[in-house]
Amino acid sequence: MTGHTLVTGVIGSDTHIVGNRILSMALEDAGYHVVALGALTPSEDFIKAAIETAADAIMVSSLYGQGELDCKGFRDLCIEAGLQDILLYVGGNLVVGKQDWDGVERRFLDMGFDRAFPPGTRTNDVIESLARDFAARAVDAGMADR
């Protein structure tokens, strides 16, 4: 076990659960404690779950093209709930139509997500990013202690 707790789910009125379930299983195999909220999850539910479980990261999936609308203000909600430092990932078919990924990524990072992942991302890429981000945070925390 890594000792880290992750909340996963598909945001908004989105029923596409398969990719999210595969990701949740892979994260569990990688040693994370996964709290899987499943499809059709309102943003508030991610945050409530993260509070009760003292989660270290929230992983938001969106596959139906409305991700930008659903995720608006997500970081603000976290700050409001006292989770200002929580790690936020988002991934999937985040926007409608063929758009330049760099622009899409930029928009989600501006919204306060720490990382955004395009369609077709391998689960291993996510796991590696998590490991790197948690390691960096551990270093930061160590420096803060000193």
Binding site: S13, A39, L40, K48, E52, T53
Partner: protein, 481 residues
């Protein structure tokens, strides 16, 4: 009289009630009633009630069991504390209500000074402290334990939160000299409800501490055990009727509605899972045996609020066959005298309309809902709470049903209605009335003689609808009573 008998006692808020049950024939031998004299000396009312019973029976039998429940002296006053309002705070609420508590307040997140002032003001009998899933947030429950430790509260505190923080919380409270006990987390994992350990702990505290604190043990010569708060006895009776005694079938999923002067209580014993495969379940799972209390739906203490919740004076007037002005007069009469029993046709019709509305609203709040969510891939039905539409038996109790006329139409307020298609109330239940207020007695007896308790309760409930009552060895066809 010869066979073995049981005496079942309820120290109620107004009356001490007795029911004597013939264990062999599984019938009611007789009843007794006296005032509830808890504030002076509980044995006075108890003696009156026994005298009443003796008069009926000629001679009191040697009782094999003498079991008691109580809702006297303000009931089991509880306050619950959790973390997120819709999660552990809600789970704690379910646990307290299921333990028969009179839940006076619920709190979420960190307790503030204001919150503490409110809690102290309530003077609760027990505080249930939850918060965090196992291994989850421990900061808030530990913080709340510190706040409670620093208060002047002397009541027992039950810790039912994050397992990883329970030791710390216990230590803090113990160190401050509080009566603290630790039990299983009401929500060990997100979305998993486990309220039985907390329910058991509350009951233990009730027997060990509250019975004495409220002076109920002064009557100990009259009973062998004061086993539970009265609402738990009713819930146990509902459970027994639903499951049946060991090895025998029961009535299946059922609902009990208790309409009183101050509150309307609803009990359901049912899984409440979606009845169709394509429905998505949302929100917290709910207890299999669930109790809710509607503090704003009392036939006497807040009749005005029932009318408001039912859509206003005109709607209730139409249902009662009265004019709005007449409703105002009737309402004033009730407000002036909360002990009032209805007199005359007009008042009875008004009471019946009030009761029907209260039942409809209370069951609507207790039952789950289903709504259509429009997604890109089409409409999806999403359910919240329990689907009670397949519930086949509804049992009604309380003055309005027992003394009023037309119990069938009053109780039918619980039914599903096309006007509110999203409310998952029973679609076609058989309606029964507990005319002699026996459910608590059956619930007390259920612990020691489940077979006798089941048969006794089953035979005593009066069918008031034309549906057949299912379950048991034989199906019973009944006609309107």
């Amino acid at each position: 009289m010869s066979g073995p008998a049981a005496l079942l006692i309820d120290f109620g808020s107004t009356y001490t009630k007795l029911r004597a049950v013939d264990l062999k024939n599984r019938t009611l031998l007789g009843s007794g009633q006296g005032p509830s004299t808890v504030t002076s000396d509980i044995t006075i009312g108890m003696r009156t009630a026994l005298g009443d019973l003796e008069e009926q029976l000629g001679r009191l039998p040697d009782f094999r069991y003498r079991l008691a429940s109580s809702s006297a002296a303000g009931g089991l006053k509880m306050v619950t504390v959790g973390l997120v309002r819709e999660l552990t705070a809600e789970a704690a609420r379910f646990a307290a209500l299921g333990a028969g508590a009179r839940l006076v307040d619920t709190f979420a997140y960190q307790l503030s000074k204001r919150d503490m002032a409110r809690i102290t003001g309530h003077d609760p009998d027990i505080i249930l402290l939850a918060g965090g899933t196992d291994g989850g947030n421990s900061e808030v429950i530990v913080n709340n334990a510190q706040t409670l430790a620093a208060s002047g509260l002397t009541c027992p505190i039950i810790v039912a939160g994050n397992r990883s923080a329970a030791d710390d919380a216990e230590e803090i409270l113990k160190h401050a000299g509080k009566d603290v006990r630790v039990t299983g987390n009401v929500m060990p994992a997100l979305g998993t409800l486990e309220i039985e350990p907390a329910r058991a702990a509350i009951r233990d505290v009730f027997i060990a501490r509250i019975v004495h604190a409220k002076g109920l043990d002064r009557a100990h010569d009259f009973f062998d055990a004061l086993a539970m708060p009265t609402p738990v006895a009713v819930l146990e009776a509902a459970r027994l009727l639903s499951d049946g005694p060991h090895g025998r079938g029961g009535l299946g999923p059922l609902l009990v509605v208790d309409i009183g002067g101050a509150t309307t209580d609803v009990y359901s014993v049912a899984s409440g899972e979606p009845t169709e495969g394509r429905i998505l379940q949302h929100g917290l799972p709910e207890p299999f045996a669930k109790r809710t209390v509607e503090g704003d739906l009392g036939m006497r203490h807040n009749a005005g609020e029932i009318i408001e919740a039912a859509g206003g004076r005109d709607a209730v007037a139409a249902l009662a066959g009265a004019t709005p002005a007449e409703v105002d007069v009737l309402l004033e009469r009730i407000a002036a005298d909360v002990e009032r029993l209805p007199e005359g046709e007009g008042e009875r019709a008004f009471d019946a309309a009030l009761a029907q509305c209260a039942i409809r609203i209370a069951v609507t709040r207790h039952a789950g809902t289903v709504e259509i969510v429009h997604t890109v891939s089409g409409p999806v039905a999403a359910q919240r709470g329990k689907d009670l539409s397949p519930v086949a038996t509804v049992i009604g109790t309380g003055g309005a049903l027992v003394y009023g006329r037309n119990a069938s139409s009053i109780l039918s307020g619980c039914r599903f209605s096309e006007d509110e298609p999203g409310s998952l109330r029973p679609r076609d239940p058989a309606l029964l009335v507990d005319n002699n207020y026996l459910l608590y007695a059956a619930g007390l007896l259920a612990e020691v003689e489940p077979e006798a308790a089941f048969d006794f309760a089953r035979a005593s409930l009066e069918p008031v609808s034309e549906q057949s009552v299912k379950g048991g060895e034989n199906e019973l066809r009944v006609t309107s009573g």
